[in-house]
């Protein structure tokens, strides 16, 4: 009868360890070990967790994570952000508050390339904030635009978050997830630009002078090479030329050539330290993944996901209400928990609920990611919020109020993704013949 304590042991020990300050990966690993011990005894549970860790990490798909991170880190140093910002400037000159629009457009491009909202907020916001301040923009407004729009890069592919989701959800197609991210990601960006434009018009923020035709062509050509990476990676994946992992390795070679052979703004001597930094970022994620695989097995042993799904489905007969509830839960989780652990812990728990409601795993992956994107913009724990305030020269209390209209925009897109399947699934059906 020890087994009936499984949910208590699993969640109890996990929360206790996290509050104590144990790194999340180890907290997950220890609580999985204790839960397994209820079923198979403590000695055998050590063995099972070690085995789950090794089999969880033995995945060719996962290799894409370090490769995309490395490609992103090479790009961060190679003067690529500057070129994309220059290109965004000639695109968004005519809109009211044009510098804010430039910020959004550059975030969409650089975020997609680097796969990191935080890196994008730092690189793009770091350049754009001083420019906007000089033109009389309120720093809190500029920071709010930067913070909310940097998350678009997590939806617009390639995106490592989708690779983590693919693995933990039991092998959802990475290609389908990548393609499914386009429409929601672009909708987020466009929505933020509309709101930013309305506010800018009210406040009378200026437009920029019209660029000459030759300037337009020159800036466009400058951005062509960095953006070509997206064409190679996504074209290769959609065309079935290579897998997502192979595409990510090609992305590394592409960025290496671009940064060290073509632009030469950084020295090749820095490469080992860039690799080491990428390996550290990767290792944080991978240890968490290894332990999460063990935890999701422990949950399955204890029948926990089914219990939670029965409970949630028992709350209401109305699927619309249950989906709304799911979103609220995820939004709350996202405010205090970082994206990757939230994804790793809550995907196995919530997957049975949405499957019983008939939601496609790809749609669920996009919904979950978008939810957690809002989470990284909110206090108390929000990495995009922190970095956006620090590069924007403003503080968290000041930025909350200007952020609200942008939050509402993101939530509107979230509702579209939740209730209109074709927003996420339309493009993969069209381009990949995805069957979901």
């Amino acid at each position: 009868m020890l087994m009936s304590y499984a949910p208590l042991v699993l969640f109890g020990s996990f929360i206790l360890l996290m509050v104590l300050g144990v790194p999340i990966a180890f907290a997950i690993g220890v609580s999985a070990t204790l839960t397994f011990a209820l079923f198979v005894g403590i000695d055998q549970s050590y063995f099972i967790v070690a085995q789950q860790m090794s089999s969880g990490l033995d995945s060719f798909t996962l290799l894409a994570i370090p490769f995309f991170i490395l490609a992103g880190n090479i790009m961060n140093r190679g003067g690529i952000a500057r070129r994309l910002i220059d290109f965004a400037k000639v695109l968004g000159f005519a809109l009211p508050g044009s510098l804010a629009h430039v910020n959004v457009l550059a975030n969409m491009m650089f975020g997609a390339l680097s796969g990191s909202a935080v890196a994008s907020a730092a690189a793009v916001g770091g350049v754009m904030s001083p420019l906007q301040k000089k033109e009389g923009y309120d720093p809190a407004y500029s920071a709010a635009v930067n913070i909310s729009s940097c998350t678009t890069g997590l939806l617009i592919p390639p995106s490592s978050t989708f690779i983590v989701f693919s693995l933990i959800s039991g092998g959802t197609s990475v290609a389908a997830l990548f393609v499914a991210g386009y429409v929601p990601g672009i909708l987020m960006g466009v929505g933020i630009m509309i709101v930013a434009g309305i506010i800018a018009k009210k406040r009378g923020y200026p437009t920029q002078p019209r660029p000459t035709a030759s300037e337009f062509v020159r800036k466009g050509l400058d951005a062509l090479l960095p953006l070509g990476l997206i064409v190679v990676v996504m074209g290769g994946i959609i065309g079935g030329i290579f897998t997502a992992t192979e595409a990510s390795a090609i992305a590394v070679v592409y960025t290496l050539l671009l940064a060290f052979v073509w632009y030469r703004e950084t020295s090749i001597k820095q490469l080992p330290s860039i690799i080491l930094e990428s390996a550290i970022t990767t290792a944080v994620v991978l240890l968490m993944i290894g332990c999460s695989i063990a935890m999701s097995r422990a949950m399955a042993f204890g029948n926990i996901p089914n219990m939670i799904s029965d409970f949630m489905l028992g709350l209401s007969d109305n699927p619309i209400l249950i989906l709304l509830l799911l979103n609220v839960v995820l939004l709350v989780v996202g405010t205090f928990m970082d994206m990757t652990p939230a994804l790793l812990i809550f995907t196995p728990i919530l997957m049975p609920v949405v499957q019983k409601l008939g939601m496609d795993p790809v749609q669920f992956g996009v919904m979950m990611t978008l939810n957690l994107c809002v989470g990284i913009c909110t206090p108390p724990v929000g990495s995009a919020l922190f970095i956006g305030c620090s590069v924007g020269g403003t503080t968290i209390p000041k930025v909350i109020k200007p952020l609200i209209p942008f939050f509402l925009t993101l939530i509107a897109v979230l509702m579209l993704v939740t209730y209109v399947p074709s927003v996420s699934l339309g493009l993969p059906r069209l381009l990949l013949g995805y069957g979901g």
Partner: protein, 185 residues
């Protein structure tokens, strides 16, 4: 408690050893990572340019990856870079804070000893005993899994170093974690 600026012999020994281990791990990580990139790029090239797909690259890349993930995980732990939620520690002062930090180190040491060294060791033993080999390379899978107890041993060593630092009234790791941002966002 030793005097400030004059660490005792054990601390010096452990810190010195930690520097050596750090350096060795860095070399393994950077070399392993580079090897992975080369493998996967070669896989694409051999398929499209040489028209003779390599059967080994998939396995080599995956095995390098497991080693890099686990050795990298240990190194990252030594640098204090694993993601934690800071709720309790910032609210505590003095000996209570030290005690909480010591408990965290103890929990991690338990995981390293029990699961990674003990459980991982058993996994290596059993896999070697039943003679399981990888399909393409014919490599005994037990050798791949050695990464788990090795990583556990390194983590345990860092735990020891952190515990000694805490006893001397220092922070567990030299520098505070570099950035507030989590991985992948």
């Amino acid at each position: 408690m030793s005097e400030q600026g004059k660490p005792d012999t054990i601390s010096r020994l452990v810190d010195g050893l930690a520097n050596v281990i750090d350096a060795v791990l860095r070399v393994i990580i950077v070399a392993g990572f580079s090897g992975m990139v080369v493998c996967v790029v070669w896989q694409v090239m051999s398929r499209y340019i040489l028209r003779a797909p390599s059967i080994y690259t998939d396995e080599i890349a995956r095995f390098l990856f497991i080693w890099m993930a686990l050795i990298g995980g240990a190194y990252t732990f030594g640098k204090g870079r694993h993601l934690a939620i800071e709720i309790l520690a910032p609210a505590l002062r003095g000996w209570r804070k030290q005690l909480a930090q010591l408990l965290v180190v103890a929990v991690i040491a338990f995981f390293a000893i029990a699961v990674m060294i003990n459980g991982g060791g058993a996994l290596v033993e059993r896999t070697l005993a039943n003679g399981q080999v990888s399909p393409a390379l014919q490599m005994p899978m037990g050798y791949i899994y050695i990464a788990i107890p090795v990583s556990g041993a390194v983590i345990l060593f860092y735990c020891l170093q952190m515990a000694i630092r805490l006893f001397h009234g220092k922070t567990p790791v030299e520098a505070a974690p570099a950035e507030a941002g989590g991985p992948l966002n």
